[in-house]
């Protein structure tokens, strides 16, 4: 929607350039129930689903972009279009100057795609074998291969796992090795589709640190989809929110808070249990549990309300925070959910 801000921000030669990119699918309805399936013998109903409806975007070299959106919003479709797995219905895209769905080898040698829910390593063999295969496929020079592999493996602390069959590894260990495999050919663009899904906190942190390091060191352009705001907060300066195939927001993480929240969260620890009416003077009481009060206060009123509180109440402790990112994003996702989804062929969405 509002791309002017991001456009001015990106560098002179964008790595990713997208205009009017759209993808439609025709889906056949599989009816439930006996009578309906008999009817469908003669007449099959189908409708067009718009996974992506004309998206414009520019991403500069070295940017770290998060794609957010509810399930089915079109994030993964977008990544698949940019990596050339599927062809669009309309629009153009250039990644590193190549049209992705032409699938030129020069292009495919310059980027990588990691899908958190899919295993790309040989299941029954040690990851070292998969790495060797990558060396052949991407034509990596042996000396460079060894150097890059050792560096990546040490960064993630998985050197001792490389010779173990992949099926014996945990999900987190496997993900780390997937990342190593994807980065062996030193791609200039990295697409990550839910890279931290199902991982524990420690593994998530390791991967965050690793990605930050790789991106800073090599100026890789990274685009990632995720449902974890922790990933976003730790990694991305730019956030793109997609819902129903449209870009709803494109800007910095800080702006998202400014633009979409009208209040802050004030948490108070009081000396005594207050009466609800009394604290409601300062703002909307979200939670009153004993002497602990959580208030929602208008951003504009914070400056005048805080002194009042500190003066009139016996305050032990106070904190002022932004609304949690999860909540803002959830609100964003919800805000457009009521909008009708394009459904020709007369079928209800």
């Amino acid at each position: 929607m509002d791309n002017s801000a991001s456009r001015s921000k990106s560098e002179s030669t964008p790595v990713i350039e997208v205009e009017g990119l759209a993808k439609e699918y025709r889906v056949h309805d599989k009816p439930e129930g006996l009578a309906a399936s008999v009817r469908s013998l003669f007449h099959r109903t189908s409708r067009v689903v718009e996974a992506l409806r004309g998206v414009d975007l520019r991403v500069g070299r070295g940017e770290f972009v998060a794609l957010l959106g509810p399930n089915g919003a079109g994030k993964t479709t977008f990544l698949k279009l940019l990596s050339g797995i599927i062809t669009p219905s309309r629009g153009t895209a250039r990644v590193l100057g190549h049209v992705p769905w032409v699938r030129e080898n020069e292009f495919r040698r310059r980027f990588a795609l990691v899908m958190g829910q899919r295993n790309q390593l040989w299941w029954d063999l040690p990851a070292a074998e998969s790495f060797r295969l990558h060396r052949e496929i991407y034509r990596i020079e042996p000396s460079r291969f060894t150097r890059v592999r050792d560096e990546l493996v040490d960064l993630l602390g998985v050197r001792q796992l490389v010779l173990q069959p992949v099926r014996e590894l945990s999900l987190g260990e496997r993900m780390k090795l997937e990342l190593v495999a994807a980065l062996l050919h030193e791609p200039e663009v990295l697409f990550l589709d839910e890279p931290t899904i199902g991982l524990d906190v420690v593994a998530q942190h390791t991967i965050h640190a690793f990605l930050r390091h790789v991106q800073a060191e090599r100026r890789v352009t990274v685009m990632l989809t995720t449902h974890y705001m922790k990933d976003v907060a730790a990694l991305c300066e730019r956030v793109i929110v997609i819902t129903h195939g449209d870009i709803l927001y494109d800007g910095s993480l800080a702006d998202i808070v400014d633009r979409f929240t009208t209040h802050k969260i004030v948490t108070l620890d009081l000396d005594e249990v207050p009466s609800p009416a009394r604290v409601a003077r300062y703002g909307f009481p979200c939670e009153v549990r004993g002497p602990r009060v959580v208030l929602r206060v208008d951003r504009g009123r914070i400056a005048e309300v805080l002194p009042d509180i500190l003066r009139d109440e016996g305050v032990r402790d106070v904190s002022v925070e932004d609304v949690p990112l999860e909540e803002i994003v959830a609100e964003l996702f919800r805000s457009t959910r009521t909008r009708p989804v394009g459904a020709p062929a007369g079928a209800a969405p």
């Binding site: 006996l34 399936s37 013998l41």
Partner: protein, 297 residues
Amino acid sequence: MSGRSVPLEPDRHVASPRLLEGLRVWCTMLAICLEERLVYRGDFLLGTAMRFLPIVTQIFLWTAVFSATSRADIAGYTRDDVVAYYLLTMLTRAFSSMPGLAGGIARSIRDGSIKKFLVQPVDFIGFLLAARVAHKLVYYAVAIVPFAAVFLLCRGYFPPPPDAPTVLVFLASLVLAFLLGFFMEATLGMLGFWVLEVSSIVFGYMLVQYLLSGHMFPIDMLAGIPTGIPGVNVADLVQWLPFGYTAYFPAAVWLGKIEGEELFRALAVEVGWVVVMAIACRAAWHRGTRRYGAFGG
């Protein structure tokens, strides 16, 4: 409207709860089976039609064999008899073959989903049998189209239809073939309680079945091969085994290859095998579940 939405409320049927309940469960199962078939109708019709393709090559092969030999018949079969025989075995195998039965039982033992049947008030073998009957009925409802077309097209190869009693025996032998096939495969599947990898056993069974059931060639063609025992040939031995009753026997009955006293002896052997396999199946289930309970799943 939907077959799936039939509620299962046993309390409402006070008169004869068990029977009615069973019937309702079975009707639901039938409806779901039918739905499944209809969703994949393209696959299904194509799949059924394709099963006749190997018969086409078999017919040409036998025509070539007959063209090169001076005799009018081979082991009592004329060329037309052979064609009719292969078409009839297609029919009998539509009754006796149980795709996925043994493998399915073994899998549910291995992955533990068999526990469900240890907990629920359902007889496992009864449930499997009902499901199979539903499955087969639906199969026939749709497969009758390609079958009728092929049989009509090839009616010239068939001898005049046999008399009414023979037709009755033929129909009985089809039902028995179904039961025999079911209990043999189910028993094989139950071996999963003792052996981890049943697939190799199933494979061995299928090999023997393929060779000795008459699926490949009429088993009375083995009459020319001696066993080493004086006066006894391979065909004599094979007729005492259960395999032939799942493909050869009904076809041979229709073609009038087996008559009179021989027919009754064969029918008795078949009934005997059905009883033996049904008992074996139940025994395997009882011992297997006891073992399963003892060692834990």
